[in-house]
Every structure is written in C-alpha cells, then in structure tokens.
C-alpha cells in the first residue's frame, strides 16, 4: 500500500467524525438563497447514409441482389439509404407495407434548449396563466432558431414486401422530398400532463 493511500485513510478517519459534528441544518432563509442551474442547451446533427452505406446491388442485372458497401453514386439503379417498412394489417386481407424509403442526408440544429419552467401570473397566456392555478411546472423546449437540411431526402411509398430483396417485390413510390437549406423557427414547446395541469 502506498503512502498516498495511508494518508487518505488517516485523513478519512480523522476528518469524517469531526465534520459530521460540524454539519448543521440549513435554515429556510438560507435555503432560499441557494439556486440550482436549470436546463440544458443542445446542438445536434443527424445524418443518414451521407457517406453511403450497405447497398443492395444486382451485379449482372439477372438477380439475385447482393449486399455490398459503397456510396450512393456506386449504385445509381439500386436503392440507397434508410428504409422503414410498416405493415398496418395482419393475418388476413391485403398484405402490403407502408414504406419510408431511401432516406438519406443530414439534419442539423443549434440552440435547442430544455428546462423546467414555472408558469406564473407574470406570464402572458391571455389570462389562462391565472386560470390554471398558480405555479404549475411545465417542461419547456426552446425550439432551435434554424433547422438545416443538407441533401435530406426520402420517398413515401407502398410496397408488396418488407424488403426490396424479398421475392415478389413491387413498390409504388407516391412522392418524396429533397430538402436543402434552412428552416427558421421561433418559440417554445411546453409539455405537461393532461387533466389538471
């Protein structure tokens, strides 16, 4: 055992009982002057397959599809990006899938804040702040000033199978989006339980 640990144990043995005796309750007056920091500020970036990813390609055009790693430009005729397929029926009836397909690109934001906030009479909700009783606490998200999209795209489709590699795959793409640029936002989103807030 090193000298440092010896010292620590000795100090603990001496200091602990002494300090316990010295601790006192904080009075209400003193406690009122103590403040805690409330809230966090977040910046973030979500990117989907921006640098490519796993691709299903058909090397000789005669099937079957095989998986490979590459950028989206490596497989112009293939699908590239995230796919989310949901089947809204089961067992009987039609068996198709709703699909968000080929989602790729980047979304970034700056200055999303989160804190707890007490609604008081000083707030301005057209009188509702008095109606709901004094001092309810809500979770407040301060929305980011700008939401930036870079080559963010996806397609909305319906499909016969969950995966493009499944037998009998047919897909009907209804529409898609391709966003580049900034969306401006202002304001707060307040979240609280329903019932009596």
């Amino acid at each position: 055992m090193t000298f440092k640990y010896w010292l620590l144990m000795v100090l603990l043995a001496v200091v602990t009982p002494l300090h316990l005796h010295a601790l006192e309750l904080i009075t209400d007056d003193e406690l009122e002057r103590v403040t805690g920091q409330n809230g966090v500020s977040l910046s973030g970036e979500l990117s989907f397959n921006e640098e490519g990813g796993p691709l299903n390609v058909d090397p000789d055009g005669g099937g079957p599809m095989t998986s490979t790693w590459g950028s989206c430009t490596d497989a112009p005729d293939s699908r590239c990006g995230m796919r989310l397929a949901v089947q809204l029926n089961k067992d009987t009836g039609s068996q198709g899938w709703y699909v968000l397909d080929e989602m790729r690109g980047k979304i970034s934001f700056e200055g999303l804040t989160m804190r707890s906030r007490e609604i008081t009479n000083a707030d301005s909700f057209g009188g509702d702040e008095n109606d709901i009783g004094d001092g309810i606490t809500v979770l407040e998200f301060g929305l980011p000033d700008k939401l930036k999209f870079e080559d963010f795209s996806f397609n909305v489709a319906t499909s016969s199978t969950a995966r493009p590699t499944d037998a009998g795959f047919i897909q009907q793409v209804h529409f898609g989006i391709d966003f580049n640029g900034s969306v401006n936002m202002q304001g707060n989103l307040l979240i609280f339980p329903t019932g009596n807030p």
Binding site: G96, N155, F175, N184, Q186, T194
Partner: protein
C-alpha cells in the same frame, strides 16, 4: 485528494440526514395519483421555410420529388414558401413579430390513450379496445366564433382566441398559414406558380384516433382510425404569381371558411382503415354500414327492416339503431360565407350533414 475526502464526508452525512424523511404514501394519497396523457402548447411560435427563388437564403431549395407528367418527364415541384405564423402576416410577406400560441394551457393539444368503452358506451368498433388519440384543442360552451377574426368571448364554440383579445404580449391562438408552390415542366412556358393562404385559422375539435383490431368487429384486420379534421379560417386565398412570387394575378377568396370533415364512425362499426394491397398499392376504406340482420346490429327478433323503411313492420331495436345513425352519426359540413374572384362576389355556399356510408380507394398503376 481533498475533493474526495469532502465528497466522502458529504455522502456519509447526506445518508444519515435524509433517511428519516421518507414516508409511506397513504391509500388516499395514492388514489389521487393517476396516469395522464401528454399535453402540448406551442408558445410564441413561428415557422418559415423559403426557397431562394422567393427571396429566401441562398442555397435554400425545397423540392417535392416523384411527380411526372403524362409523357413521363419529371415535374419539378418546389416549395417556394411555407409559413405558419401569427395573424396579420399579409400572406406571408410580413412575418416579423407575428407569433402564435397553438393550444391553450387549459385546453392544449393532447396525446392520450382513451378507453374505447367510454367513447361509445361499450358498443361499436372500439369496444374493449384502447384508443390512441391525438387531439387539437376542443370546442367549448362559451367560446369564440370559429371563423370571425375579431370574435369576442361568448360568440361561438372555438376555444382558440383571435389576436388582440389581450394586447399584453399575447398573440392569440389563431394562425396564418400558407404554401407557395412552383411547378416547373420540361416545357418552361407551362410553368405554374400556385399559392394557398389561410388567414386567422384554427383547427379546434380535430382529432385522430387509432386502434388495433381482432375478429370481434369488421373482418378486415387493418389498423383502424376515426378522424375529425376541422379547419376554420376567416379567409382562404388562392392565387397565382410569377415563379419569384411577384406580379400576382387576381385572388380567389373563400370568406369565413369552415370545414368539419368526419372520416369514419366507430360507434356504428364504420372505422376508416388504412393498408396496402398485396401488389403494393395504397388502400383506404371507410367500412360499410352493417346491413339489417348483421349480428353487430341490435335486434329484438329477425332484425329485418320493413320495405317502406318505417318503424311499423320493422324490428324495433334495429330500426332505432339505424334511426340513431342518421340522427346522430358523424357528419361532414363545409361552408363558405362568400366566394370572391377578384372584386366579384358570388355569395355563400355550403355542404352540410354529409354521411359516408361506404368509401373505398385503391390506387392503380397507369
């Protein structure tokens, strides 16, 4: 080293001090605790998305893809602008400081799980089911006229208040919203700009209810839903301009626009279902109203309805059930107090008490 010692000391003391403060909840305290849904209020909100072509930031380009013309050429559909702001935005031109609250503290937007049995007294498509509900603020007894931009308290049933009810930094709950869309074809002489704007609008009373299914009701096993889509606006404006949003033509205006769209009626076994066919096509259905004699329709005897449709000669329980459907079933209403084209006025029009008994939509390949 000193930090660790202080931490250890603090831990010792904290344990010994706080232990005695824990107490059991009594039965009566515990019975006051209930599971709740989530309430949302957007405060001082505005969103604005503007393409470079309409004067937005350099590089802004928001495209809707996957749309082709009859010859298969890609049609370039650009969202020139989308905005949702406080009122007085002058069709999206003047957004500075135009903020809006969506939802009220005492009547917020809600996401909740409801008891299907309490929604229609234990009968209907959602009996014994949990129903996920997403709802806008509700209608209230003493509210505001839904479409009047200067409505005062007590003039209607909408809970969302117009601007200027309280000038103390409060913006009201009614919003201006608009889309400006450019469609560019391979033949650029056919390019079209189309704009849609709503002024002093609200969606009070709208909801989306979703629930699952089993063999107990309709035999289609798709996800079920009931939708109430309300949209009220003091004015809807449609017009067309150059692709940069300037030099606009005459406006087509709908004054005091009120739409209450009822899709699906779970109480009478008519949920709306949404699924995809085996071939991957979109399939939307509002289930057919059950026929007389159907096991889901209450009946005293045979369940038959007389050929003249009158109560005399019909099964009374079944007849009353159908009578309830026509009297109290969910109905769609759309009304406009005045249709204007440029400076011409074409008067009012309305569509009321529309009930959908059966609807099926399936897309097909061309």
């Amino acid at each position: 080293m000193l930090q660790r010692i202080i931490l250890t000391t603090a831990l010792f003391s904290a344990f010994s001090m706080s232990y005695a403060e824990l107490a059991d909840l009594t039965e009566s305290e515990l019975s006051d605790v209930s599971g709740e849904g989530i309430a949302l209020v957007f405060e001082d909100f505005q969103i604005d998305m503007k393409g470079e072509v309409m004067g937005g930031e350099v590089g802004n380009d928001f495209q809707v893809t996957g749309i082709k013309d009859h010859a298969g050429a890609v049609v370039n559909v650009g969202i020139g602008q989308f905005y949702l702001s406080g009122t007085g935005s002058n069709l999206g031109d003047n957004l500075g400081g135009r903020l809006v609250n969506l939802g009220r503290l005492n009547n917020p937007i809600t996401i909740d799980v409801l008891d299907g049995n309490s929604l229609s007294a234990g009968s209907g498509s959602w009996a014994d089911k949990s129903v996920l509900a997403i709802a806008m603020p509700t209608h209230i007894a003493t509210g505001y006229n839904c479409t009047d931009a200067n409505a005062t308290a007590g003039s209607g049933t909408c809970s969302s208040r117009p601007h200027d009810v309280d000038p103390d930094g409060f913006h009201g709950e009614r919003f201006d919203m608009g889309f400006r869309i450019n469609r560019q074809f391979s033949d650029s002489t056919k390019d079209v700009n189309l704009n849609f704007h709503a002024q002093s609008a609200n969606m009070d009373g709208s909801y989306l209810r979703l629930w699952g299914s089993d063999d107990s009701d309709v035999d289609d096993h798709a996800m079920k839903m009931e939708i109430q889509m309300n949209f009220y606006a003091s004015k809807l404006v449609f017009n067309s301009c150059n692709l940069d949003g300037k030099s606009c033509g005459e406006q087509v205006g709908f004054d005091n626009f009120s739409m209450e769209l009822a899709l699906g009626d779970a109480k009478f076994f008519q949920p709306m279902t949404l699924d995809a066919t085996d071939e991957g096509f979109l399939h939307i259905e509002i289930q057919a109203l059950p026929s007389p004699g159907d096991p889901r329709v209450p009946k005293a005897g045979s369940g038959a309805i007389a050929t003249d449709g009158k109560l005399a000669g019909s099964d009374a329980d079944s007849w009353n059930w159908y009578n309830d459907y026509y009297a109290n079933g969910r109905k769609t209403n759309i009304s406009i107090s005045n249709l204007t084209v440029g400076t011409e006025s074409f008067g009012s029009s309305s569509l009321t008490n529309l009930q959908i008994q059966y609807l099926e939509i399936t897309t097909h390949d061309l």
